[in-house]
């Protein structure tokens, strides 16, 4: 009988390993003055974050291909040593493996903040420079690691951006002063939701909103029903509805708001489910007029913003389809910045890299999609762009800030029945 158990366990283990595709591929070692320059790349390529992890890696890969076609870095070819980290535990072992076994001298990643957190820990321990291109969790940069940088905006930027957009654009359009405005902040209760909404709340108070006019509704993103969130929000009758959600809960919030006829004049999300096409597909015209803050997407003012169409063309050439989200462009920008720093540093020496990063001062729109680069003392890029997009019946179009905007936001959002009639 025991034998049978062990046999079954091993069959299951082998099957699950085979199907989730664990284990990294063979790797190039050596970063000396000869041969290719190796960058360690760590992303979730299997598991629940696989879709956007892969999308992120694609952007970085396109930039590296382009670099190699133009003579590479320091006249040498650049090669990515890619590690798959579906979760934080895997990130730990994979980051260790990249450094100790494959000997990579620089690493980037990771899309997911949880994975970025662990990968940056490991890199800091070995004093290997680490660049985060996509994870927005605030604590990644708060640990004071000397050789960790983030090229994209963080949760703090998302939250304050939400508050700023609503205060500067929406309230004047509604004819309401911040002191009289009532708002509801509904957010999923993991690190992502809480850190963005905390920053948002802080900014709202600074803008003069009254604490008693701000209602917080945290919820679990794994819920299969969010009617209680909607009913709670509806009974508060807010002027603006702030959400921080993944795809699953964003779809539920929108659908159940329609079912329960909750009609906030302004609805602003923060990345996650609000910027994703599957949300539009599930909710349909009901998404019209809803807004969300995020990294720059593809529908921005291309007269003023650099390189978007060229990037899409390169992406389509390599992968045969339109980018699945803005994450690829975000990582492309991150890679542009990292390479600029390395060009400047002239070697893989961590202190030379630090000197180059610290000295960097590129204004907005130096790189693709409006990206600039200027790092504060924690290593956070303060010139990373954020854009508010509004859903039309077809796509997410930029409405704020002015340099990115293609159209004016629709305030207040039309009623659910009007949207269904569109």
């Amino acid at each position: 009988m025991k034998k049978k158990i062990y046999f079954l366990i091993s069959v299951i283990l082998i099957l699950s390993l085979a199907l989730t595709g664990c284990g990294g591929g063979g790797a190039d070692t050596g970063n000396d003055s000869e041969g290719p320059v190796v960058f360690g790349a760590i992303f979730p390529l299997t598991g629940p974050n696989a879709l956007l992890g892969d999308e992120s890696l694609r952007g970085a890969q396109i930039m590296v291909d382009e670099l190699n076609a133009n003579g590479g870095l320091w006249g040498r070819e650049v090669v990515l040593n890619v590690a798959d980290a579906p979760d934080a535990t895997a990130a730990q072992t994979e980051a260790e493996r990249l450094i100790t076994k494959d000997g990579v001298k620089i690493m980037f990643g990771a899309y997911s903040s949880a994975i970025a957190n662990v990968a940056s820990d490991v890199c800091a321990r070995y004093e290997v420079p680490y660049f985060e291109f996509g994870g927005i969790g605030t604590d990644i940069m708060r640990k004071g690691y000397p050789y960790v940088w983030r090229t994209c905006a963080d949760a703090f930027g998302f939250g304050t951006g939400q508050a700023q957009y609503v205060t500067e654009i929406c309230l004047p359009a509604l004819g309401i002063e911040p002191a009289d405005a009532k708002v509801v902040l509904a957010y999923e209760d993991s690190l992502y939701g809480t850190s963005v909404s905390e920053a948002c709340q802080e900014a709202l108070l600074e803008f003069g909103y009254k604490p008693e006019n701000i209602k917080n509704i945290p919820y679990a993103a794994t819920s299969v029903d969010l009617s209680s969130v909607i009913l709670d929000a509806k009974s508060f009758n807010p002027d603006a509805f702030f959400t921080v959600s993944y795809v699953n809960d964003q779809i539920l919030l929108a659908r159940q708001a329609e079912e329960l006829n909750f009609q906030p004049p302004v609805w602003i999300g923060a990345g996650g489910g609000m910027s994703m096409t599957p949300t539009l597909e599930a909710v349909g015209n009901g998404m019209y007029g809803l807004t969300g803050i995020d990294f720059p997407q593809y529908e921005v003012d291309k007269e003023k913003i650099n390189g978007v169409d060229e990037f899409v063309a390169k992406y389509e050439e390599k992968y045969g389809a339109f980018p699945r989200s803005g994450h690829s462009m975000t990582n492309y920008a991150g890679m542009q910045i990292m390479i600029d720093i390395l060009e400047e540093a002239g070697s893989m020496d961590k202190d030379e890299i630090k000197a180059a990063a610290t000295a960097m001062d590129k204004p907005f729109n130096t790189y693709i999609g409006g990206w600039g680069a200027k790092f504060d003392e924690t290593g956070q890029n303060v010139n990373a762009p954020l854009v508010v997009g509004m859903w039309t019946t077809e796509k997410l179009v930029a409405v704020w800030p002015e340099e990115f905007a293609i159209t004016e936001p629709v305030i207040p959002i039309p009623s659910w029945s009007d949207k269904r009639a569109m």
Binding site: M1, K4, I5, L8, I9, V11, I12, L15, S16, L19, T20, T46, P48, N49, A50, L51, D189, I217, P218, Y219, A220, T222, S223, V224, D225, L226, S227, S228, V229, L231, D232, S235, V247, N248, I251, R255, E258, E259, L260, N261, M276, P278, T279, E281, A282, G284, G286, W416
Partner: protein, 293 residues
Amino acid sequence: MYLMQVLISGLMLGGIYAMVSMGLTMIFGVVRVINFAHGEFLMIAMYLVYWLNVLLGMDPYVSILITVPVFFVFGVFVQRILIQPIQESPATIKIFSTLGLGLVLSNLALMLWDADYRSVKVSYSTAVINISELSISVPRLIAFIFALLVAVFMYSFLTKTDLGKQIRAVSQNRQAALLMGINVRKIYMIAFGIGSALVGLAASLLMPMYFVYPSIGLLFGLIAFVVVVLGGLGNMYGAFLGGLIIGLVEAIAGAYIDPALKEVFYFIIFILILLLKPSGLISMGRGSEEVGL
């Protein structure tokens, strides 16, 4: 008015939970296998509904005619291939094999269809009936009515028909049933098939309001276990009642206490039931709490 709306939302949610749980209670109560792949069955069934809609333009409600028989056969197949050879083994082996099946199914879905969220486009997905200020979602109401009908139908099937009586006999005492000349293996396959067919039905009813992705099974699977234990293993009315109770608890706790804590309350109920009345609200008799052990 607010309370009424909360109660309606809770009842409608309870109908969904009941619908998802009734297949599990059948397998749980009769075959005495804790089917950890239940949520993944639901996920695969939802993909079937999705593809029938995308490829053939079939309405999710019409797809009931396909999902129910397909999943009956699927259930029979799983019982015959996977469970029957280990029917006599200890519970741990059955747990491992259904858990493994669940892993295989969810990773298969990830491999075949990516991690994308997919939903069917139907005009009535957010349709609402308004009674003064109360709103009732039409697809939720339909799911609720189906759950009620299935509970009534399954109850009369199990008590009135010959086959139903055989199924109950097997679930109450396998040895005695075997001695009475009941083909236990066949009954197991039929029971697993029915349980799986009910999952197919649930998928058709869920797709108009939900969406499918490879790990959605986790969301519903866990709740189904709570509902089944609460209602009493193998009892259709128990599952229906359990579903409604969990739905109402979730809605009321969410509305009056804190949406972030609503799960806490039904897990407290779950633990209390396990401590105080492990055979569930509607008990199937002594020993029925020791399912699969």
